[in-house]
């Protein structure tokens, strides 16, 4: 802004200024510590209300003008002789005796289309250095989830681009699917690949993606943003970041801010995909706040309302009825387990709230099976009704086949003594596992998934050496792309694998086998 424009703006503001003598309900800081402030007064404040600290008092005009942005607090305890609030910022700025003003507003975050491609903090303030976001609508971070009448059942698939998930644990738009596993088992990778895969969707039906990073290292979030940017996925993604260095209050609020932004788009009839990475860290932040607020601790020192914290958040993910615009929020919460223990307090809570879970195992990950999905413990309770007919047709028996393979796997060490039927079943299972492997950042379109799973189901890779199955799969897909793109286009368009497509896919498999004899001689 030039000096001239700025002076003009100031003059305009002075001319239009109307002094107000409104009375503000206030309180005084009694004590402050660990991000929690105890206040007296504020008899008219309500739960969840935003308070603002009067930092300008006793400062001269020049110092006040140069001051940082306002400091806010969120009321979380209403007590007999005052209130307790969590400071949403640097608590070192708070002094004993400081005046705190009630704002009369519940915490809200700004939302707008301009947020797409931006990184914001838990209060919706941009932190990517690209300037302020304009034309925003304030969305309350706490909102009652849509009721039964306003919802409709999940019927549209959300393609993750990951074969193992789209085939065996399908996710529908409006579903809540938990991603659970130990540290470093690829939980975030699944979430990010799902965001990247949305690029293949037509722009008008492509879900808006919201990635909420809770208690993550700044370096990890920066890497994810870079990955999304390079994949061209940032343009339809909003990143809400409450880093590990942020106050616990912001880590507790970040998922609610993310879902408030998601609701802005859902209310406009858009589909939204929201990822909470991860809710274990949010639970820990909430436990810290609750203990500091002197709320009674329960199991594992979590407060009594820890279940409600997650249920009220995840209930906001839904598919709205056509009368309400037909928008949806699909939630992929992430939970980190310790030593694969899914029966711990927070994991069981979130498992019971969500519509299914994708369980990742360290053992599988270390064996090189990636994504390291434990098919036996993973389930999608509503997603199958949203699965395309083409995928249903090819994926029907995979889960059972893999389960049988796992049963027989124990006998593999006696390979020489096995009968032919068992040996064949093990060989098929091993090749199916190889086919379901997928590199990160490499989501596959649905028609290619259908083609490759159809081929695997027809034991196409039976004569391929185990070590070359991935290579054979890649070359087969390249071949289909080059020679049978019309067939792939038909599968994509109709979302069905009719007899004609099956026939041409069979022919393509035969032609590929003839052309790549070297691959099929290595059993």
């Amino acid at each position: 802004m030039s000096d001239h424009t700025f002076v003009e703006k100031i003059i305009k503001e002075i001319e239009g200024y109307k002094p107000t003598h409104t009375a503000a309900n206030i309180g005084h800081v009694i004590s402050v510590g660990d991000g929690v402030v105890a206040l007296d007064g504020l008899s008219q404040s309500v739960m969840g209300e935003i308070l603002t600290f009067d930092e300008d008092a006793h400062k001269d005009l020049d110092t006040a003008l140069r001051a940082e942005t306002s400091l806010y607090a969120l009321v979380l305890n209403l007590e007999e002789d005052g209130v307790k609030a969590v400071i949403l910022g640097d608590s070192a700025r708070v002094r004993e005796g400081m005046i705190v003003k009630s704002t009369g507003t519940i915490l809200s975050v700004p939302a707008s289309e301009e947020l797409l491609g931006r990184v914001v903090n838990a209060l919706g303030e941009p932190i990517d250095g690209k300037g302020a976001v304009k034309n925003t609508t304030m969305m309350p971070i706490e909102r009652i989830a849509s009721g039964v009448i306003d919802r409709k059942s999940v019927s549209t698939p959300l393609q993750t681009g990951i074969k193992a998930i789209d085939a065996m644990i399908p996710i529908g738009r409006g579903q809540r699917e938990l991603i659970i596993g130990d540290r470093s088992t690829g939980k975030t990778t699944i979430a990010i690949d799902t965001i990247i895969n949305q690029k293949s969707e037509p722009a008008e039906t492509r879900p808006i993606c919201v990635y909420v990073a809770i208690g993550q290292k700044e370096s990890k979030t920066a890497r994810i943003v870079q990955q999304l940017r390079e994949a061209g996925a940032l343009e339809y993604t909003i990143v809400v970041d409450a880093a590990a260095s942020s106050p616990a209050a912001l880590q507790f609020l970040a998922p609610f801010s993310g879902v408030a932004i998601a609701e802005y788009f859902m209310d406009k009839g858009r589909d939204v995909l929201i990822i909470y990475d991860d809710l274990s860290k949010q639970a820990v932040a909430y436990r810290q706040l609750s203990l500091l607020l002197r709320r009674p601790p329960g199991r594992e020192a979590y407060p009594g309302d820890i279940f409600y914290l997650h249920s009220r958040l995840l209930e906001r993910a839904c598919r709205l009825s056509d009368e309400k615009g037909g928008g949806s929020i699909t939630a992929l919460p992430i939970i980190e387990t310790l030593e694969g223990d899914i029966s711990a307090y927070i994991p069981t809570n979130v498992i019971s709230i969500t519509d299914g879970q994708i369980f990742l195992m360290s053992d599988l990950f270390n064996k090189g099976i990636r994504p390291a999905i434990d098919v036996g413990n993973s389930v999608s309770r509503v997603g199958s009704s949203a699965q395309t007919k083409a995928m249903k047709g090819v994926a029907g028996g995979i889960k059972l086949e893999l389960a049988q393979f796992r049963e027989l796997e124990a006998f593999m060490q006696f390979a020489q003594d096995l009968d032919k039927a068992t040996a064949d079943r093990i060989a098929t299972g091993q090749r199916m596992v190889e086919v379901l492997k997928q590199r990160n950042g490499n989501p596959l379109s649905i028609e290619k998934q259908v083609a490759v799973l159809y081929a695997a189901g027809k034991v196409f890779f039976k004569d391929v050496a185990l070590s070359r199955v991935t290579e054979a799969e890649g070359r087969f897909l390249e071949y289909l792309d080059a020679e049978h793109s019309d067939m792939l286009a038909t599968i994509k368009k109709t979302a069905q694998l009719n007899d004609e497509s099956k026939e041409s896919l069979g022919r393509a498999m035969e032609q590929f086998r003839m052309a790549h004899g070297d691959l099929f001689e290595g059993k």
Binding site: A23, I26, K59
Partner: protein
């Protein structure tokens, strides 16, 4: 816990008991329940409540001492003030006045107006 006992003492005194009688009653109760060890912390908490109540006086803040009478008159005209007002001088206000009661703040100072204008223009 100690805060709750301190509140009880405060309310007993407010209800007409002498401070000595109120404290003795609470001390008796603590003895009976085996919590006498809490007493020093209760007294500390009571001191905080008393301090907090003492600071709950209303004041009018002006930029110059000579503005005080006019400010008090203006404040009294616009808002019903029941307490005795203390006058404080804060030159940083530049002009106007600021009424601070335990639960209420009315700020008509020039500093607030200028800050509002500046923040609107720069946002």
């Amino acid at each position: 816990m100690e805060n709750a006992y301190a509140q009880v003492i405060w309310r007993l005194v407010a209800g007409g008991n002498t401070a000595h009688a109120a404290i003795t009653k609470v001390e008796e109760h603590l003895k009976q329940t085996g919590r006498l060890g809490l007493l020093p912390r209760v007294m500390h908490s009571l001191a905080r409540i008393a301090q907090s109540q003492a600071s709950r006086s209303s004041s009018i803040v002006v930029a110059k001492k000579e503005d005080a009478a006019h400010a008090a008159h203006e404040a009294g005209n616009t808002h019903a003030i029941q307490d005795q007002l203390q006058t404080r001088v804060d030159p940083s206000l530049i002009g106007g006045w600021r009424l601070e009661t335990p639960e209420l703040l009315i700020d008509t100072s020039y500093k607030k107006a200028l800050l509002e204008i500046y923040r609107k223009a720069t946002s």
